[in-house]
């Protein structure tokens, strides 16, 4: 088990290989469909959001506003990442992202960006919204809440020991590619 703390260095990322279990502590920013499209179309990050050495989490959490105006995260599992494939590689490159948390994996363009820029894909357990919400110690801020709505906003989360598995590394390795090829071969034998 490798413990990662944000901001993460390129050296730490390059040391990771497909199949490694990690925990993430520090700051992560949620960002999903609307945010990726917006950034890819040239939109600026709001002041206060710095992704350099940072982690994007593909997640639309359930957030409850408390009486004192703060937010409580009551469910926070990953959403399917493949929808961000048209944008993710460019965003990694442009903003210096070191880690992308999501589920289901991403494709060739992102894999190439991980290799070129030093980034990894960190697979969280889909559907495990309660286990992962327990890792969110504080909701520090929210951006684009009005524009994109709660699930699509950028939430700045303080996390501790958030569990994930490296399924795409910075050396061209992808568990998703491996499992697809192996399962396609097994299926071909059974048709």
């Amino acid at each position: 088990m490798t413990a990662l703390h944000t901001p993460i260095t390129e050296e730490q990322i390059r040391a990771l290989k497909v199949g490694d279990a990690v925990t993430i502590s520090g700051i992560v920013f949620t960002g999903r469909d609307a945010v990726h499209k917006y950034l890819h179309e040239g939109g600026a990050l709001p002041p206060g959001v710095d992704l350099r050495g940072g982690v994007i989490y593909h997640c639309g959490p359930v957030m409850m506003k408390q009486d004192d105006g703060s937010w409580k995260c009551t469910a926070a599992g990953p959403t399917t990442s493949i929808r961000e494939e048209p944008y993710q590689g460019d965003i990694i490159h442009q903003f210096g992202v070191r880690g992308v948390i999501g589920k289901g994996g991403l494709g060739e363009k992102t894999l190439a960006a991980c290799q070129a820029d030093g980034c990894v894909y960190l697979h969280a357990i889909g559907g495990a919204a309660q286990v992962l919400a327990e890792c969110v110690k504080k909701v520090r801020n929210v951006y684009f809440l009005e524009e994109f709505g709660s699930p699509e906003a950028i939430w700045e989360l303080e996390v501790e020991n958030f569990p994930a598995v490296v399924t795409m590394d910075s050396h061209g390795g992808s568990l998703h590619k491996e499992v697809f090829a192996a399962s396609a071969a097994e299926l071909a034998k059974r048709l």
Binding site: A34, G60, V62, G127, A128, L175, S183, E186
Partner: protein
């Protein structure tokens, strides 16, 4: 109406925070069968912890509380308009309580007003029967698994799938292969052979109202269900697509008549966070009995 609203909020809460017993049993069996020390086993352990935690904290199993689909069996004369109005109010109330995420987006403007109510949301299917009972079943189906559903038109030359049961088997297994871990496996398939493009998907989803242990009354379909389940679990896709044994927990297939010109096979995929519950209503709208 007040009692019915209360009942529906409780139905939504329980559906969102508790996994049905049959699904939990299947997940535990998958965990026991998975190879120890693998990331697949690790994924299933987190899933088990998550199920326990969601129930204890009365918070959503998955943050994507999904499409909200009610299935109502009712006698003739049942007031469907009143029921639907109450269901819509209950959905908004349950959202405020945090049992549902603010999950409904205007497709044209992109706005999410936070109510979970709008055109087509929630969906209520009514079915009349010649019995006095009113039963309400609820399914919450997340977007990740909805996105990996697939509809095939046979013959599908690339898959060598002709208009027969072997062709159906080929396309259903192709759907499993293409889904990989994107639908949050181990998953459950609901399949309809036949129908049109709309009814095919509709009937495929209704298959998720069956329990996992339920066997198909039609011998041919039963054999196909068992065969697809066994074969899919030999492919090594595993939980979350990490590789491993548990790719599917169940396969449920129905058939509907088709036009001579059409032969659709519609495949709906349900994630492991298989949220379905149901109640029989008493005369005042109270919960008389839980159905799963």
């Amino acid at each position: 109406m007040e009692k019915l609203a209360e009942t529906l909020i409780e139905l939504i809460r329980r559906t969102s925070v508790e996994i049905p017993d049959d699904v939990n049993r299947a997940l535990i069996a998958s965990l026991e069968a998975e190879k120890k020390g693998t990331i697949a086993e690790g994924a299933l352990k987190i899933i088990e912890q998550n199920i326990e935690l969601a129930k204890r904290k009365s918070q959503p199993i998955c943050q994507d509380t999904g499409s909200i689909i009610f299935y109502v069996d009712c006698p003739a004369g049942f007031d469907q308009l009143d029921f639907e109005a109450t269901a819509r109010a209950a959905v908004t109330a349950a959202t405020k309580k945090g049992f549902l995420r603010q999950n409904s987006v205007d497709s044209l403007t992109g706005k999410n007003d936070g109510t979970n109510v709008g055109p087509g949301a929630p969906t209520v299917h009514f079915h009349q029967h010649r019995a006095p009972e009113v039963s309400v079943r609820l399914m919450l189906k997340g977007g990740g698994c909805e996105n990996v559903g697939a509809q095939y038109s046979l013959p599908a030359e690339k898959l060598s799938a002709n208009r027969d049961l072997d062709g159906c088997r080929r396309v259903i297994l192709d759907a499993v292969l293409q889904a990989q871990g994107k639908g949050c496996g181990p998953g459950i398939l609901g399949v309809c052979i036949g129908g049109d493009r709309a009814t095919g998907y509709e009937f495929s989803k209704q298959q998720f109202l069956r329990t996992l242990e339920d066997r198909n009354a039609n011998a041919e379909l039963d054999a196909l269900e068992q065969d697809v389940l066994k074969t899919a679990n030999e492919l090594g896709i595993g939980p979350m697509g990490f590789g491993g044994k548990a790719t599917l927990l169940g396969v449920k297939i129905c058939a509907a008549n088709r036009l001579p010109a059409s032969f659709f096979v519609s495949v709906s995929y349900m994630c492991w966070a298989y949220r379905r519950q149901g109640v029989n209503l008493g005369a005042a709208g109270q919960i008389e009995k839980w159905l799963y």
